[in-house]
């Protein structure tokens, strides 16, 4: 299969831009690579935590965050490759039944950062079925604009734990790089939530 055969209609930057519009006090974690660039293209934000590594860890970060901040919606945006590396974390999240956690996988069926090798989703691995099988009450596979319009508000607001895997076009997009100083990303995020206590308390 050539890249040209990948002709999904939905485009990742449009989706993320729409998803983060009016994000309010939502906390956003993005998996390394394309999804970190996507959330940055939509506008760097103190309440965003884009990863530059830790592959497979995005949902687990969301879990700790969701427990610590139960009144806020936590949105994890990641890619199919990153999600495949951390599939166990879907079972961990579902077991906790975290009512404020949303996971959005932008599935282009490729490892975009490493030469566009195909991922397991290109040969049938169904991430929304896996999330459902792990116990996510709301888990959908999205490939059309109509389905997208239905799922974006639920990713932003719930109700309850949400999972969506969205088939997106395989496309080479320009880099939109977030800050890569991990200490800075951590501290600005904590300060935006906790205020001065983030840096003054021990």
């Amino acid at each position: 299969m050539t890249l040209d055969a990948q002709n999904f209609a939905l485009r990742r930057r449009d989706i993320v831009s729409e998803l983060l519009k009016g994000r309010g006090d939502m906390l956003v974690v993005a998996g390394l690579g394309s999804t970190a660039w996507d959330i940055t293209a939509a506008g760097d934000h103190d309440l965003s935590f884009p990863l530059w590594g830790a592959m497979g860890g995005s949902v687990s970060i969301g879990i700790g965050l969701a427990i610590a901040q139960p009144k806020r919606r936590i949105l994890v945006i990641t890619g199919d490759g990153e999600m495949l590396m951390g599939m166990g974390s879907l079972a961990t999240a579902a077991r906790l039944n975290l009512q404020n956690l949303s996971v959005c996988v932008l599935d282009n069926e490729h490892y975009a950062e490493t030469g566009m090798q195909t991922t397991h989703t290109s040969t049938g691995t169904n991430l929304s079925a896996i999330a459902s099988g792990c116990g996510f009450q709301n888990s959908v596979a999205v490939s059309s604009q109509n389905e997208l319009a239905d799922v974006l508000p639920r990713l932003r607001e719930g109700p309850g734990m949400q999972f969506a895997s969205i088939k997106v076009r395989t496309e080479k997009l320009g880099f939109s790089l977030p800050p890569k100083d991990g200490v800075y990303l951590k501290t600005r995020f904590r300060k935006a939530i906790l205020g001065d206590a983030a840096v003054l308390s021990s």
Partner: protein, 169 residues
């Protein structure tokens, strides 16, 4: 108090809210005490590396968390340790040792013998408690390193301490 009760007391004194774990027989009573504690949310993991990321997320959101695991799980965490190192997330790991002392399973030996250097290479300060009377001080120090010092800190619980009943009371 039994040694595991000293760890429980230390994590309560340190205001720890999240306890992530992959079960180990040596941690069984401590895990149960945390599960039974309404002020603590316990996170049962499918693999230890999730725990490193969970603790990072907890800190991002203002919670203190600890990870309970056995030594074989340290190998599962190696790349995820880079998250804690790069972002300077406080880490407090309580690790029961295998492959160290009267181990009946030779498959535990390779990771047991490399647990401490692996942690040190990843940036952890590592202490080992062999005597149950030392656990209280070491546990408090491990949590202090993490949450006051902002460090990656691990306490290895020597296999002499387990099974718990042998050294209890």
């Amino acid at each position: 108090m039994e040694w595991w009760q000293e760890i429980y007391k230390a994590i309560k004194d340190a205001n720890v809210r999240q306890v992530a774990y992959v079960p180990d027989a040596g941690h069984a009573k401590l895990i149960q005490a945390c599960v039974d504690d309404d002020e603590i949310t316990t996170i049962s993991l499918t693999t230890e590396e999730e725990g490193i990321a969970v603790l990072s997320g907890a800190w991002l959101g203002g919670d203190r968390g600890v990870l309970l695991m056995q030594s074989s799980g340290v190998g599962n965490c190696v790349n995820m340790f880079s998250l804690a190192k790069t972002c300077q997330f406080p880490m407090a790991l309580f690790i029961t040792m295998r492959g160290q002392w009267k181990e009946f399973n030779p498959w535990q030996l390779p990771m047991g013998s490399t647990t401490e250097p692996t942690l040190e290479l990843a940036g952890f300060s590592v202490n080992t408690a062999e005597d149950p009377n030392d656990v209280a001080d070491f546990a408090a120090a491990t949590l202090h390193h993490a949450f006051v010092g902002g460090e990656m800190s691990a306490l290895l619980l020597h296999q002499k301490l387990t099974p718990v009943k042998t050294f209890g009371k």
